[in-house]
Symmetry: C2
Subunit: 593 residues, 2 copies
Amino acid sequence: MHETTPAAKAAAWLGNFAERLDRGDISGVLELFAEDCYWRDIVAFTWNVKTLEGKEAIAAMLEATLAATRPTGWTVTEASGSGLEPVEAWFTFATGVGKGTGILTLEGGKCRTILTTLQSLDSHEEALGFTRPMGVRHGADRNRKTWSERRAEEEVAYGNGADPYCLIIGGGQGGIMLAARLRQLGVPSLIVEKNAKAGDSWRNRYRSLVLHDPVWYDHLPYLPFPANWPVFTPKDKMGDWLEMYVKVMELTYWGGTECVSASFDENAKRWTVQLVRDGKPVTLHPVQLVFATGAYGPPKLIDLPGASGFKGEILHSSGYSDGSKYAGKNIVVIGAASSGHDVSVDLWEAGANVTMVQRSPTTVVRSETLMELAFDTYSEAAVASGIDVDKADMMGAATPFALQPMKQKALYDRIRARDADFYRRLEASGFLLDFGPDETGLMMKAYRTGSGYYVDVGASQLIIDGEIGIKAGVDIDTLTPGGIRFADGTEIAADAIIMSTGFQSMHEVVAKIVSREVADSIGTCWGLGSGTRHDPGPWHGELRNMYKPVAQENLWFQGGNLALSRFFSKYVALQIKARMEGLPTPVYAPPLK
Amino acid sequence: MHETTPAAKAAAWLGNFAERLDRGDISGVLELFAEDCYWRDIVAFTWNVKTLEGKEAIAAMLEATLAATRPTGWTVTEASGSGLEPVEAWFTFATGVGKGTGILTLEGGKCRTILTTLQSLDSHEEALGFTRPMGVRHGADRNRKTWSERRAEEEVAYGNGADPYCLIIGGGQGGIMLAARLRQLGVPSLIVEKNAKAGDSWRNRYRSLVLHDPVWYDHLPYLPFPANWPVFTPKDKMGDWLEMYVKVMELTYWGGTECVSASFDENAKRWTVQLVRDGKPVTLHPVQLVFATGAYGPPKLIDLPGASGFKGEILHSSGYSDGSKYAGKNIVVIGAASSGHDVSVDLWEAGANVTMVQRSPTTVVRSETLMELAFDTYSEAAVASGIDVDKADMMGAATPFALQPMKQKALYDRIRARDADFYRRLEASGFLLDFGPDETGLMMKAYRTGSGYYVDVGASQLIIDGEIGIKAGVDIDTLTPGGIRFADGTEIAADAIIMSTGFQSMHEVVAKIVSREVADSIGTCWGLGSGTRHDPGPWHGELRNMYKPVAQENLWFQGGNLALSRFFSKYVALQIKARMEGLPTPVYAPPLK
């Protein structure tokens, strides 16, 4: 009777769950789960980012972690659902070292999915709101250091006798957000970045770049974009925001600094990192080393036969910034994913004759359509209904990767029906369209390979109209002095060739800075192990090597788009803080390659 | 029966009020008011900032404004109160040109106070949230201007053929907040500021300065301080925030620019303003001219007999920034209000021997006590209970100035009882303490004269301990070569004298830039006309000349602390926007001197 509301159902289930966990009754716990069940844990039980799929995996995880985790205080905080829909409930809990939150879904009284996340470490809570710093020590003090004096000391300390506990290589959004979280947790950290200033990684990109994701999806921690911020952030405005954010969050940020090498001392449990800062060598000895060198690693270049005889310019899209010098010229863009499209539009706007060479099919989805159908939890309407960005992130994290293709397939069925005419016209231009190997669309491609998709903000119409030429599905035979000859014998004249061919795995940066051996022991980053093209198995169920312990001790990967960087930066920071404080952090399950 | 809840009582009253306003039945309206009643209107009925005190004044205002205002749609949005307490209700309404909100209080079924404010102009609403800008025009465009190109054009337009509609003299917090509001309303505006960079007006102050008001009271519009911001903002951190804010809000801000002169052309209805920007003359012709040159105007210097024979240094506190060169020296600080105390502590911390010369009694209140007793609506607890800064501002504005002394007196009775021991010890040091002519404390002094008070963050203990000397209540006879001789024959040795003697009225800046005649026709700024010391009558019931039309057409004063600047910048911006759009803005009641 009293178990008819979603909250009551969830509370009853959680009560049973807690009681069985409490007495270590793992088989009793398993009885509460559906056959097809998933437990995603982020740092609470496993000190890892891990999805356990099925009862057997859950049992093994609990056998290994339950005694050390000592979970208590399971409490439902919010629940929804009806007789027809699954019950979805938010809950809080505590572990031996901190506080956690999670989301569970019940179907027919059994748990289908559960997410458990660590949110804070006891006695190391962030100083926010009620516990924010005072900013001044009242009273007079002849040894007073002012805020600006303390900041100035921090700025010069590293490299002058002091070492950061954590060194973050890469000062784009991923490194910056992680450093902000670490600072809140009192972890001495330093960001080193090749570019001169924070934000330059955005400013240096091509002229017309704007974020393809809307503002509600892009917030940084602690300081959300204001209500007058545009839906799609122009690149230079994003650059300014990041630069400002670094200052406001009081991060120590070395621009103009290249990381040359890093080696880990197994005895001292510290890194020796060689840097070149403004041309001068600096050696640091951080305990933790984070690679936040960009979503996907260094540019991926492809072999172009005959390149030595080509009279024009060949560059990678990452080196392309301004199309004005190509006005009136014939430009071939190789690659038809996001940057291929953006660069082509930029060139077209500059007055170039552009042909895009498409080597494999691309998933295209119109921005407007995504906004309406896919960003429901990241929107002004969501905000108005009480779903802020942190809540939306948790909702997103609650669906295990294994169940996402099904949801995404349904979404893309709607998208394809809605925009059928658009897709028909796009294909009529010769453009090769796909929605992924299993018709699951853009997001799954992003997780699996980080490539092969485009959010249409205007290029597709130019392709449909023939303003941007398409050469699709034909191999390049060779470059000629004046262009490209294809396997079908056709030729395209080219004054310049821009390879929009994507990026290598981040682990290639590790090979360059640490060693090939360490990089190979870690394996590649990103991808789920889906067994689809460019994402070989085995199945991981999580992003490979991202945001969690890897085969190399005290080495971390942080990156991804703004949303992933925001969400996971919290958990990377907690993992690092726990290690700094000497808390036990037994990692469940060895790192998968 | 249905009128027993506060909301029902308020709705019933507001229904009667609306109906009588609707049929122009002013005497019927007056029947709904208590005898001792107040109507504060901010730009909704009067196009002015005006409190009407009593039925006669309300009747006169309605006679003059009702037909033009055409108020409709009065709706209660929130109400509180009980049988014992007055009913307090929030409401919304519309006028012929825009939307408004207000707060009313009912006692015994009659209205005791009502606040009406204009919040937006129809068809000129700010682009926020659901209506935020897109940031990009999707689709390809060969004439595309990127965000940074448009911003760059804006930055160079003024002085190269284009004129701002509104020129703001002074780029501290007051000018910056107003410019942000104006930009949201699409009013082309330019800030000109003497200092090189936004934020320098804070950075250039003395080393140990921190805001005396807590963070919850200090937010700027649109972009509140984050949850990790300190309670008391250090001056350089404030400087950085203002500099960042100018960039994020996309304000056009000329640093290193002095305003030399301004004259109004009565025919063209434009100003001719002579500026010197980085040493070069620039002439602009804005329609509106805003003085935002600091809370109170230029430094106030006092005559010191014998100054020419004094061998040491004499400076005003506004020119004091670093005490280190005074270590071991004898320094006399003349003035015992906020800057006198702060400068004395800064000198003491630097190792100087400091004596404070107190010419008249000072109101002192401990920061901790203010935080606990006076900032109840600006606190983390308030935020947690749903009172954000905008709501708190409206709550503060709902009490007319005439009723504030009573409330403040009660507050200071509590403060004096609580800190009796502290005050006893402070007076025992020779310090002259007061709580204003009517025992109403700090806030009323701030409104009436902007001087004569100190929020204790540490100086008082140094005075109690004799670490900072006090020479109180004795006139200065003359400076001697080595110090100061007083009327009682005593002498104090001084290597330097720092005049912490406050600031002149802002209208002195007008005298310097426009003319003495115009300045005198306007009269002084600030003060209420309370008839107390330095605040001569007649009674204004509002701050003199601030935030509203003055005797000189198209000239405005904007300033005050962060909270007043924040709140009133909205209404100054709406008044200026309405004029730019050519809306009728009949100002009720001629400006009082």
